[in-house]
Symmetry: C2
Subunit: 355 residues, 2 copies
């Protein structure tokens, strides 16, 4: 079933999808993690009227904020406005944002796992599917739409810790002391994420990014032993629908080689490693995405330009390069700096034949 | 001036210092980061009577808690009980622990930097020097004593952020937007740390560890450009006194090669990378320290044993290996598990000629 390629033929700006599929684009495509977010005054306007939770659950508003950075920055892809933790709705787990996520009853025992619901994401998360459809209408085929989810381990760590964590003590205790329960929980989450991303693809996303935001909590040994098989299953399930998959495991550059072996179309790279080294590490037959330190956008325009041009050139050593930050854009960023970045990338990233 | 080697001749358990100096010890030495700390009931007893700040400023109590893990665990080295932020006393900066450090007036402008005092650590931090002397008396030459400080960037980041941070936004803004001021501040901090560690050596420490706890906030490019020269200066200053220097830059395995080039005697390795890979990365002519994930001590004894034995064997591929955790021991750790770890390391790490 190759839903993806048929649905995306009509899209005007195809640079992002071309790179994802291993084709040479006219120019290096660029999008920015958290490009729909607090650094944009038009986003903050919307947030004056609704909470973060309400926004995630209101498809027309999701579409509105998803499109904002397309107009403002000129990026080559949109990413659905949502949150990785909305899947808790299908598990029957309450989470509040204060502003960091807080889970009322963390999941740490056999009984806790047994209590999780097996909700159907097409029903429980229909507001996400509606948001995808609303985004596609609002984008009107100008740029592709990226759907997303959290990776199994990242979702598990929020369930088990009950919020953000520094040492992931509860998660690791479960992994080391109760590896079977840990594996069973990861399996249930993976099952849900497979259905959830299938739903997003049916609703119309053109590509998918899997955020393993807390992968860096694990050593390569533990990531390979406890986590990787589940990621591999999720990636191959989504790829079977014909849409490209970006896998972004953040926080530990020593995981890159493992991540590159999972079979995702694009390997996300965080800012902690030089892109040239990352390309050597994953192999120059791979397609990479990244990896400017978001804090560079807090610096002067000349610095942004120098660093961005160097990064575009480094990316040309890979089979393909989607330019992005190496982590989400910081709320304190001047939107003019973000726009400047996009312009510089497009200028430096135009391939020779077009000059 | 080689104070170190003369002063340490009398020490009974020389395995740690032998490895630091590139000699073959009878067995792999082991100590544990934060081995004097909250996981020990005898430490919590002391803390019932005094605050963390008071404890750091009471030499006899510092000595008492410094020695506690030597008796309890059988580790091969003691590390001075103190905090990297006590140096703020010499800069005239107020910091409270609630329990994370909070700086009243973060240092972010030229005026802020100009206001910093140039205190003499032998005067302003005489309580640390007294604590070193008290520790040496209390240890009675059973094991060597490790002194320590925070690395220049880590100290700077606390000054600039005013506490712990996730994105190091203020620090990076300063580095990118005001690189000259950033460099000047790092220089002043480095100057202070040179004097501070010289004082610790004169007071009697047998080795020194420099904790670059937040090095992982930086990409290799920025670490090399903005931070490394200051670390190099500090390391070579302390080495000129004849005591071994351990440099532990935490949080980004891609910095290891850079860190290894600074000239420290021992390269600390955090848990985020396989030790075997770290040894390849820094070169097998180097001496390494690390790197068991502290969370493994939350698991069952059999897991601790398996992982520890594998790590001792991996460490034998380096020129020398000081066994340690790859980050501080977690407060929830059972002290019996820590003792078990030490015993397993000593058992596996005994060199063949002695069997």
């Amino acid at each position: 079933m190759d839903l993806g390629s048929e649905l995306t033929m009509a899209i005007e700006n195809r640079a992002f999808l071309q790179v994802c599929r291993g084709e040479k684009p006219e120019r290096t495509p660029v999008w920015i993690m958290r490009q729909a977010g607090r650094y944009l005054p038009e986003y903050r306007e919307v947030r004056k009227r609704v909470s973060f939770e309400q926004l995630c659950r209101t498809p027309e508003l999701c579409a509105q904020v998803t499109v904002q950075p397309i107009d403002r920055l000129g990026v080559d892809a949109a990413i659905l406005f949502s949150d990785i933790l909305v899947v808790f709705d299908a598990l029957g787990v309450d989470v509040r944002f204060e502003p960091g996520p807080q889970v009322e009853h963390p999941v740490r025992s056999h009984a806790d796992v047994a209590r999780l619901r097996d909700g159907d994401p097409d029903v429980e998360l229909v507001y996400v599917m509606d948001a995808v459809r609303a985004c596609k209408r609002a984008l009107a085929d100008r740029v592709p739409l990226i759907g997303f989810c959290g990776a199994p381990f990242t979702i598990l760590s929020y369930l088990v810790e009950g919020g953000s964590s520094r040492d992931f003590e509860h998660t690791k205790r479960l992994m080391y002391a109760e590896p079977v329960l840990f594996g069973r929980l990861l399996e249930r989450i993976t099952e849900l994420l497979c259905k959830y991303l299938a739903g997003q693809v049916r609703a119309g996303v053109d590509a998918v990014q899997i955020f393993d935001s807390w992968a860096g909590a694990l050593s390569p040994f533990d990531y390979r032993m406890h986590v990787l098989p589940h990621v591999r299953r999720l990636v191959s399930h989504v790829r079977s629908f014909g849409v490209p998959v970006i896998l972004f495991a953040r926080g530990n550059a020593s995981l890159l080689e493992l991540v590159a072996g999972v079979g995702a179309d694009v390997i996300g790279v965080d800012w902690s490693i030089e892109l040239a080294h990352a390309i050597v590490s994953v192999g120059d037959d791979k397609i990479v995405q990244g990896n400017l330190d978001p804090a560079i956008l807090l610096g002067p325009p000349e610095l942004i330009e120098t660093r961005a041009r160097a990064l575009v050139r480094a990316g040309k050593c890979a089979r393909g390069h989607v330019f992005n930050l190496g982590h989400g854009i910081l709320p304190a960023t001047d939107p003019a700096h973000a726009r400047h970045l996009v312009e510089v990338v497009h200028d430096e990233g135009t391939y020779e034949r077009d000059r």
